[in-house]
């Protein structure tokens, strides 16, 4: 009898954690927006937003759900961009294979970076990832195949699966959109998976997770590799969209930018990094043609955000919704 009494409650819990109608509605709206966007806005701009949104979402998986602040994510983004660009341009790889190669490279690099950095926490973790990324930046600057200051330019977009011509901008757009949606849903799945629940437990009380027998550094490393791979995926696609891989992609500023996007949008919220990416990329695009200096404006926004709404845009919105509901 007691079991029966407990079971409905238990079912409620799992139901409560399932996607709320609001989230589903938001997702459908988001998907619709992505589908119609190229007819309303310049497609290359939207593609840029989508690439950075995926990058930021991958970064947020680590910061928001494991609590690890990496200052070296540009290495995965840019490293994958180089590999993809090189594989297409020098070896004539088809885009899907080049993207896979770039992503795999980022995963491998994530494994190495993660293995070194994961044993430290907080500022030390951030510093190690930054140092490793700077070393990689220097390598990219010096290595002959990256084209040094010029980068790898004029990467042909090629034909996806041999028959979808990516030089057609709508084809390219929907391919990027598909990669983004799949990547985003994958992150969502990871967060709401058995593995994700252990990550949550580790973030909440690491000592207790250890005492329950979890080898926490392996879980962190797993999350790090997943995050690095997805950052790499974003970088690979970006290289094809812009037909370019350059030092900007591996630079320190890129690592900083992804932190900014995530923070502005809302750490630890699924939609936050996407909103942050839209905001930052739009601002940069807008400011590029104005006389205002970009770093100053972005920097000011960052300061205001940290001072006034630390939960970020989506975080504050969620908190407001919760308050309204009581």
């Amino acid at each position: 009898m007691a079991t029966k009494a407990a079971s409905p409650n238990v079912a409620d819990v799992t139901a409560g954690h399932k996607t709320s109608p609001r989230t589903i509605a938001l997702m459908i709206i988001g998907l619709a927006l992505i589908l119609v966007a190229p007819f309303l806005i310049y497609p290359v701009f939207v593609m840029k937003v989508l690439c950075f949104a995926l990058f930021a979402a991958a970064f947020n998986l680590l910061l928001g759900y494991v609590g690890l602040l990496s200052f070296g994510h540009a290495a995965f983004f840019g490293g994958a961009a180089y590999i993809t660009a090189y594989a297409i341009k020098a070896w004539g790889y088809p885009p899907e294979l080049a993207i896979l190669l770039g992503t795999a490279f980022a995963a491998l690099m994530g494994l190495v970076f993660g293995y070194v950095a994961i044993k430290r926490q907080g500022i030390y973790f951030a510093m190690i990832t930054m140092a490793l990324a700077q070393m990689f930046f220097f390598f990219c600057l010096q290595a002959p195949f990256t084209g040094g200051e010029d980068g790898i330019q004029g990467v042909p977009r090629g034909k996806l699966f041999g028959f979808i011509d990516l030089s057609n901008s709508l084809n390219m757009y929907y391919f990027v959109a598909a990669v983004f949606v799949i990547g985003f849903l994958f992150i969502w799945r990871v967060v709401h998976s058995p593995f994700g629940s252990i990550l949550k437990a580790i973030r909440e009380n690491e000592q207790r997770a250890i005492s329950l027998g979890y080898r926490v550094s392996r879980y962190k490393l797993g999350a790090f590799v997943i995050s690095a791979s997805l950052a790499g995926l974003a970088g690979s696609v970006k290289a094809i969209v812009f037909q370019l891989a350059s030092l900007t992609d591996v630079g320190f500023q890129m690592s900083g930018e992804v932190v900014l996007m995530t923070l502005l949008g809302g750490i630890g919220t699924l939609m936050g990094p996407v909103v942050g990416a839209v905001l930052v990329v739009s601002l940069e695009n807008y400011l590029a043609t104005s006389s205002l200096p970009v770093p100053v404006v972005i920097g000011s926004i960052f300061v205001v955000c940290v001072l006034l709404f630390r939960r970020g845009i989506v975080g504050e919105f969620n908190a407001w919704m919760d308050r309204k509901r009581g």
Partner: protein, 275 residues
């Protein structure tokens, strides 16, 4: 010089300890420490502690504040690395193992500050403990609903500590005593062979103490429990063997009666607190 002290103190411990613990629980030694020492930059927190915990017993570690009880606990579960000494579990040297490995062997600890996952529900808290043995911890491709196969077992554990009514509550919002009960449920989920409880009664209201003591007694069925405890009534009531620590060293060992009558113990500890 420390070696000389060691020889001086060791026989004394064994003389007081051996007959008493033999009388309390006849089981073989499950967890033991030899010459356990922890130094922090010149300060010796635990010094040459020899400990033998017998199968099926409830063994208390008591002593005044700063006696090194919690350090001792951290050493036994490898949350701290001992400077010297050997720890064996069922004949296996576990001195070099990582804390998670100790837990996997079946030696599971709790913490002084209640260790729950505050934003997770009571059910989820217990499920986290069940996930690892259930091979449901690394699947990042499965939906969260895959975990519902653990719900019945989790609910049974939650019921066993009397928290059925709170199964959907957020753990962080539970009152302190219930958090401890929840922690116990999560520990029991691992079906530990040896449970180490660090001050399970600390900060507990009077009426909760009896309840938690009952839970511990119940949980101790068929397993070995080591606990750090300040409340001597609880120790007297619950424990078969008692080790008294003072300034990082063993002062006395035996069952509660023996230990409580030891004049050194009375002077060092009980004289001030128990009478």
């Amino acid at each position: 010089m420390p070696a000389g002290e060691l020889k001086m103190t060791m026989p004394t411990n064994q003389n007081t300890g051996a007959p008493a613990s033999g009388g309390a629980a006849g089981g073989s030694v499950v967890l033991s420490a030899k010459g356990l020492t922890k130094e922090f930059k010149g300060f010796v927190a635990v010094k040459d502690v020899d400990l033998s915990v017998r199968e099926g017993s409830i063994h208390a570690l008591i002593g005044p504040n700063g006696a090194g009880k919690t350090t001792c606990f951290n050493l036994l579960t490898k949350f701290l690395q001992p400077t010297r000494g050997v720890i064996t579990y069922r004949g296996q040297d576990i001195t070099g193992l990582a804390p998670a490995e100790i837990s996997r062997l079946g030696v599971v600890r709790s913490f002084q500050i209640s260790a729950v996952f505050p934003s997770l529900s009571v059910l989820e808290n217990v499920r986290i403990a069940l996930q690892r043995p259930g091979q449901l911890a690394t699947q990042f491709w499965k939906p969260e609903t895959a975990l519902s196969v653990l719900n019945d077992r989790a609910a049974a554990l939650i019921r066993s500590v009397g928290l059925d009514a709170f199964i959907n509550h957020t753990a962080g919002e539970l009152p302190y005593g219930r958090k401890r009960a929840l922690e116990l449920a999560a520990t029991l989920a691992l079906e530990p062979d040896v449970m180490l409880l660090d001050e399970p009664m600390a900060g507990m209201a009077h009426e909760d103490i009896g309840h938690i003591a009952d839970l511990i007694r119940q949980a101790a069925q068929g397993r070995t429990v080591i606990m750090v405890e300040h409340n001597l009534h609880v120790v007297e009531d619950l424990c078969d063997a008692v080790t008294v620590l003072q300034r990082g060293e063993i002062l006395a060992e035996g069952d509660y009666q023996t230990v409580s009558q030891d004049p050194r113990v009375r002077e060092a500890y009980m004289g001030s607190e128990h009478d």
